[in-house]
């Protein structure tokens, strides 16, 4: 009697296990999303925090169309060639349904043509250079583009800083910096300002005293320098050393904790245009995101890259949901129709594959980034 009970119990157990494994074997294929982020190399800072944003989004929304979502991360090593390789590996080997990435404009510019040719939808969270989506059917982005950032910078300089004369200092080895500086100059002049000095430097330069001394003699009211935080911190320090006291205005590449760690007191009062700030969230989802991010990563400040990555994931999943399948052409069409998406970085609408959305202006005060204003498009 007892023996037969044991037997039947174990029989049920075995049957249950078999049923379980069968059901998972017959379950639908997961939705595969390829990610190519810089996890090593000079831009690793951005890749690592951006991927945290993606992971958080996936944790909160692990399924779409009742299918599991799987992320395939490939390191593009902050390199242009590796970026193109990463995208073709994701598409050919992992057979992904869509691609998220890259982060910097230069890397995205080399990854985008591969997705375009293979007809796989790609969406970049952070690449602001206009050329990234130009004449492309399959490439999208979740951020605004440099002309808008240059415009907001010029408007802020004219209206809030009351600047008449601006000096512009450009990193000529970065597509991003050259682009955004040109749009700033165009708009600043149109708004009645005057560009009194335009000087250059290269990524990796350490000494800017020559340029800054030359700028000082022109007595500008503002120095527009849309560079990356590493050079920017040194520029701010050396500006104070040569006695140049005009406020410095920058672009979204300034947003990194290292800017303040390295620049210290010299970066006080430095302002920049960017995508997102904890203090400047305008949407419900934004508030939820900040709370969830702080909960998941207590030591990390949620920044633009993580917020945009989070938004990108949701924009893509919304499009897949509306398409009702992972059919690439349908997802592409739905991505184009994205409208009034309530993202954590603001309400956004897709137009010509770029996002129309607000920008925020931050400034450094008492060793912290402080929110100054949100500028609507």
């Amino acid at each position: 009697m007892r023996k037969s009970l044991w037997l039947s119990l174990s029989g049920i157990l075995v049957a249950g296990l078999v049923a379980l494994s069968l059901s998972s074997a017959f379950a639908e294929e997961p939705v595969k999303i390829g990610v190519y982020y810089p996890m090593t190399g000079p831009s690793a800072v951005y890749g690592q925090i951006g991927y945290k944003g993606l992971q958080l989004a996936q944790k909160e929304r692990p399924k779409v169309l009742n299918r599991e979502v799987k992320l395939f991360l490939t390191d593009n090593k902050s390199d242009k060639v590796e970026s193109a390789n990463a995208v073709s590996r994701l598409i050919q080997k992992n057979k992904v349904d869509a691609v998220i990435g890259g982060l910097t404009s230069s890397n995205t510019l080399s990854g985008a043509p591969v997705a375009e040719k293979s007809k796989v939808p790609m969406i970049s969270p952070w690449a602001t250079n206009p050329v990234v989506t130009q004449e492309k059917q399959w490439v999208f982005r979740a951020c605004f583009i440099d002309p808008f950032q240059g415009f907001v910078g010029a408007k802020f300089a004219r209206e809030n800083l009351k600047a008449k004369n601006a000096a512009v200092l450009i990193d000529i080895s970065q597509d991003y910096c050259v682009g955004i500086a040109n749009f700033f100059m165009k708009n600043f002049t149109k708004m009645g300002g005057k560009v009194v000095s335009k000087l250059h430097y290269n990524t990796g330069d350490l000494d800017f005293t020559a340029q800054l001394t030359a700028i000082k003699t022109k007595n500008p009211d503002v120095v527009y320098c849309p560079g990356y935080f590493k050079e920017l911190a040194l520029i701010a320090m050396q500006a104070r050393e040569v006695g140049l006291t005009a406020p410095i205005l920058a672009g979204d590449a300034a947003q990194a904790d290292e800017l303040i760690k390295i620049g210290g007191k010299s970066v006080e009062g430095l302002s920049f245009t960017t995508h997102f700030d904890e203090m400047g969230v305008t949407t419900e989802s934004g508030k939820k995101f900040v709370k969830a991010f702080r909960g998941a990563y207590p030591d990390v400040t949620p920044d633009s890259v993580s917020a945009l990555s989070y938004d990108t994931y949701n924009i893509l999943l919304d499009a897949i949901e509306r398409a009702g399948s992972t059919d690439k052409e349908k997802v592409r069409a739905e991505l184009e129709k994205t409208k009034d998406f309530q993202g954590v970085t603001g309400v956004m609408t897709m137009k010509d594959h770029d996002m129309i959305k607000p920008a925020v202006i931050l400034t450094v005060k008492d060793g912290k980034f402080k929110w100054l204003a949100t500028v609507q498009p």
Binding site: S197, L199, N202, A210, M237
Partner: protein, 295 residues
């Protein structure tokens, strides 16, 4: 351009040039004695900044203690690089040693990337170096003033060691004929080790001053200063310590004045430095002070 502005730019150039010169001393010493271009020199400099960085940030040492410790550690690193990588090749052809030097350089860079990570770190600038001196309209960071002084002091010390001590005499002998020197009862390896140690200590001084001036350190930070110091050493006449410092000053001042006079060329500064190297190699391969026998 006003005269005052010219003076300000000249001072900017002197500040940059003294750093190039300081690093170039180590380059030129090793070349003068071994006929080896030690391409790892810039990376040894990078390591010294990390030693000092960890001394201050992890062990909370006063900055000058951390700097002294970093100098000693860097000296030991230089000696162990010589003993581990170059000593087995002492009698091999010069090209083998050169390639080994490039290998050591890559090794240090990538080991640092793995161990320290690629994110730049903020380097500490002591209070006494933060002041800004004003002379009329001309302003100067006190650190720059001290750097120029330290460079000149070190130059005198190196001169004294090379010309006034027994070790210096041995060093000059090795530079004349490396293979005969051991026959005269001089311990060749001790002399070479001493040279590498001294060169690395000076690199550490240069590295720490460099990191105080441009206070962010990262594993690849040694490449450009290393190359620029190489240009300075060749410009001044490689093998000659006075030439190295002179070459450093000339390079620093030209770089700055190029931007001062032709602001539209400001993006081509590095290109110009290397153009200068090519011109020197074509028209005066021995450099400015290269006619004297190398030390």
């Amino acid at each position: 351009m006003t005269f005052q502005l010219f003076l300000q730019q000249l001072i900017n150039g002197l500040g940059l040039g003294s750093l190039y010169g300081l690093i170039a001393i180590g380059y030129t010493m090793v070349y003068g004695i071994l006929r080896l271009i030690n391409f790892a020199h810039g990376d040894v400099m990078m390591m010294s900044t990390y030693f000092a960085f960890f001394g201050v940030s992890i062990f909370a040492l006063p900055w000058w203690v951390a700097a002294l410790l970093a100098m000693i550690l860097t000296g030991l690193l230089g000696i162990s690089i010589d003993q581990g990588a170059y000593r087995p090749l002492r009698r091999a052809s010069r090209i083998s040693a050169l390639i080994t030097a490039i290998g050591v350089s890559f090794f240090l860079e990538n080991a640092a990337l793995v161990v320290f990570g690629s994110r730049p770190r903020a380097f500490y600038r002591p209070e006494m170096f933060r002041a800004i001196w004003h002379f009329g309209d001309i302003s100067l960071l006190s650190l720059t003033g001290y750097t120029i002084l330290i460079t000149l002091c070190l130059l005198v010390i190196v001169y004294f060691i090379v010309y006034k001590t027994r070790m210096g005499m041995a060093m000059r002998a090795v530079s004349k004929d490396m293979h005969t020197v051991p026959l005269m009862g001089i311990d060749l390896n001790r002399v070479v080790a001493f040279t590498f140690g001294l060169g690395s200590v000076i690199a550490a001084v240069g590295g720490i001053l460099w990191a105080m001036k441009y206070p962010q350190i990262e594993p690849l930070m040694g490449i450009i200063p290393g190359l620029k110091a190489f240009v300075a050493a060749v410009l001044g006449g490689i093998g000659n310590v006075f030439g190295a410092v002179l070459g450093g000053f000339i390079l620093g001042i030209t770089e700055i004045l190029l931007v001062a006079f032709w602001p539209e060329l400001s993006g081509y500064r590095d290109a110009f430095a290397f153009l200068l190297l090519i011109l020197v190699l074509i028209f005066r391969p021995t450099g400015i002070m290269g006619e004297d026998l190398p030390e």
